[in-house]
Symmetry: C2
Subunit: 499 residues, 2 copies
């Protein structure tokens, strides 16, 4: 057995935890618990699961001080941010309780038997059911909200699926602590609904475990693609949902640059460096017009970035990768470092930076994410040039447009930026992903499946699959599909009916 260690990024000090890497027997036990819990969660029903989610949120709140301190010692994200993240974590859990009680997410449909131009149609009733036990690969950059008690876990439990979380090695102590808090709530009711496994080997085995029926991942393109291939090469492949980073382009129209370039620059700088630039929605590239207004914007952006100090990265490896990435960006012909924040002597810190690129075509390296507090400003001459640059970008979680009221400028570039995004923002900044009914956090590749979101009410659909019942006796149907009044919206013979 290999013992687990944790490192404080603010000091570099490593300590040994009372935890070990999960072996094959431990993984099998976790999958078996998740399988048993899937049946129990379903038996609880929607209202029972809603109460369970709320109880988990309450229990996490009750241990707020411990959790925040433990997470800060592993991530150096600071108490303010981590308190906010724990609040978000509880909000997500309570939001899914609301989604459960409302019930639309089941997509309940009843088609009574009847005649059609194709002849008689049987009685058909359709609803979504839990897909089965779910694997969740925790993210480094949200030790709570996208980790053990995070959005994927909340959505899976809401769906009625037991969960096995692969802990991120950057915050094992936090993972173990919140898992124990969750277990105190779940174990008496449904058994071990959320298990945590540790170590690289367990992560590789988890996505291939026969009992696992879907997997979610938030992390790097390399890691995500490797796990996606393992999922696809199983004897029985399963859905794999990965959020593999994002370039998050920002397009500033000439009119917007002229009208309020400096104010845009100020907000943009804050968005780039927020949380050490360690957000998947960090704006990584900004298309800014050439000419005096664009110059002023870039000047203001440079000045803002220069005023920000270095911060500890989540891990020393991520700090090294940032420095290497910055070297690569500035080595691209046509690219130059135009601003740098104030450095720190602390090993493992990242210093904000701004890179500017001038050229006809966007080099591939500039279209790839560099995780950390850096953005690339790309200057465009006209709409056609901006559209060509934008067309070299991959799919992206967000695209941000700064335009003026009635602004008809850069129409082709606006389309090119927007059509590759899962969320399109106007005059706001992409960091900060509200948990809401209307949220979408996904998009074309490198999100692995553009049809799904990992944040918001509809993220639950990743863990549900449809089933149709044909000519079923009422006793064989889920309560939501029986005739008579029900407590959820559903479609009956083609017509939406509210409760």
């Amino acid at each position: 057995m290999t013992t687990i260690t944790t490192t404080d990024p603010a000091t570099g000090v490593r300590r040994t935890l009372d935890l070990e890497e999960t072996d094959a027997a431990g993984l099998a036990s976790a999958v078996s618990s998740a399988t048993a819990a899937t049946a129990e969660l379903q038996a609880l029903g929607r209202s029972g699961r809603a109460r369970l989610l709320e109880a988990i949120a309450d229990a996490l709140d009750a241990r707020r001080e411990d959790i925040v301190a433990t997470a800060d010692a592993e991530t150096a994200l600071g108490a303010v941010r981590l308190n906010g993240e724990l609040t978000r974590t509880g909000y997500q859990l309570r939001f899914f309780a609301e989604v459960l009680r409302e019930g639309s997410y089941l997509e309940a449909v009843i088609d009574h038997a009847g005649d059609t131009p194709m002849g008689p149609r049987p009685d058909l009733r359709r609803m979504l059911v839990p897909i089965g036990p779910v694997a969740v690969y925790a993210a480094s950059n949200f030790p709570l909200a996208f980790s053990v008690p995070g959005g994927d876990t909340a959505a899976a439990l809401a769906a009625g699926a037991g969960v096995v979380v692969k802990a991120h090695p950057a915050h094992p102590a936090t993972s173990a602590l919140v898992a124990s808090v969750i277990a105190e709530v779940t174990d008496p009711l449904v058994g071990r609904a959320v298990s945590v496994v540790y170590g690289y080997a367990a992560g590789i085995d988890l996505v291939q475990a026969p009992g696992i029926r879907a997997a979610s991942f938030t992390g790097s393109p390399g890691g995500g693609r490797a796990l996606a291939e393992l999922a696809a090469n199983r004897p029985s492949p399963i859905p794999f949902y990965g959020e593999l980073g994002s370039i998050n382009p920002v397009l500033v129209s000439p009119a917007a640059a002229a009208a309020r370039g400096e104010s845009i620059a100020e907000g943009l700088a804050a968005s780039i460096v927020q949380g050490g630039g360690q957000f998947c929605t960090k704006p990584g590239i900004a298309l800014v017009p050439v000419g005096p207004a664009g110059d002023a914007l870039v000047g203001a952006l440079s000045a803002s970035v220069a005023h920000v100090g270095a911060k500890p990265a989540l891990t020393a490896g991520m700090a090294s990768a940032y420095d290497a990435g910055l070297d690569e960006l500035t080595a691209v012909p046509g690219a130059a470092l135009v601003s740098r924040g104030s450095a720190s002597s602390t090993i493992g810190s990242t210093t904000p930076a701004l890179v500017e690129f001038v050229g006809d075509e966007l080099p591939t390296r500039l279209a790839e994410e560099c995780f950390g507090p850096v953005a690339v400003v790309v200057r465009y001459r006209d709409d056609e040039h901006a559209a060509r640059l934008a067309s070299a970008l991959p799919g992206t979680l967000t695209a941000t447009l700064f335009i003026e009221p009635g602004d008809a400028g850069v129409p082709m570039a606006r389309v090119a930026v927007a059509e590759r995004a899962g969320r399109i923002l106007y005059d706001q900044y992409p960091t900060g992903v509200a948990v809401a009914w209307a949220q979408n956090h996904g998009g074309p590749w490198p999100s692995t499946d553009s049809v799904h979101t990992s944040v918001g009410a509809t993220s639950i659909r990743r863990y549900l699959r449809p089933v149709a019942w044909q000519n079923a006796p009422a006793a064989e149907l889920p309560p939501e599909l029986r005739d008579g009044p029900v407590d959820l919206p559903r479609r009956v013979d083609g017509v939406m009916v509210l409760p």
Copy 2:
């Protein structure tokens, strides 16, 4: 260029068509047409696309005689079946027109800006948009309803996605004819919205074409898995939706066998041999109790099967594969041929057959589909035995239960059969898949993505992806997401609102 030929399965006569295998330039042109049409289809709006679908259905009806004759000469399915299939094809197109007009499929959501426990939330609005140009791999066994003008094409056009169909080599003339009928409707309005490509190489290249954003396939596990891997290994992977066959288990409870074994046998025999057993929902395995009631059922089933004559298979290759598969089934220890229909001297015909298996564990080969008019009856001793046999089955499109009112028999076996299915039938037969709001045609692997269906209203979702607009000016929003009255159900600030 290689010229395309077509063969009449009833006579074995092959003739040359005025068609060639599609080369790289032809494929590029088809993808380019689909891309242009995607923009045009979106510009038509929901009502415009609804009218387009209805016009295609009308045009196909107007050419009914030609289409049925052409398809019969390539498939030998007969005029009655092909007329029915063309009716189904038109019904699907008109059904999606209804889905478009109703509008729920867009999943429109508005969250106005407001305060939350996490602080202020921005204005967020979410809706589904076309995923982009779609590749459709046509099926052999439905030359119309799952081919060029079939369900995938109808759903994609409804979504607003241009389509490139890879024609199935078993019915190229039908594919070309219906494509020309569709083109007469679409070309003046939106350009070539449905292109057809021919030949193995074009099929390999199509799923890898950068312009294609999703692919659908109906066919064999081998072909489907190969295409799924190509889709996953693209520089930018895309969703791949495959229906790769199904075993469609039938479970007869002891009480049902005792009460009406002979009537069940009669219906089951008809379902096994219908259309030459060439349906993805053909019941491939039936779990029947040991003992006199089960014996009587198997006897009646054997007698029914023995009365059915051979029929031409869709292709000579499929007839050979059927014969080889039947040899494999009967070579399994514990399995025996118990009935055979009347043979035919026509090459390329398949003769109905019934195989019976007695044993403790289900051998792997018996859990795999054998395409054609054969089923395997597996005898079970008790609930535990039946559940163990059922647990050896893969995911399946359908599971059929014959039980009596209040029947508490074989509870574990019922769960084991039902939990691996996309559609659960009671006292009906799985062949025949109604096009309806509540239909589900999919399930766990070997359906490639258990979250989706390939038949029914929600099959459109395979070709849509969500987008969220944040803080967008009204003019930048799709009409369905603007404030004020709209013609579709949507969720506003968490509450479903009907038009």
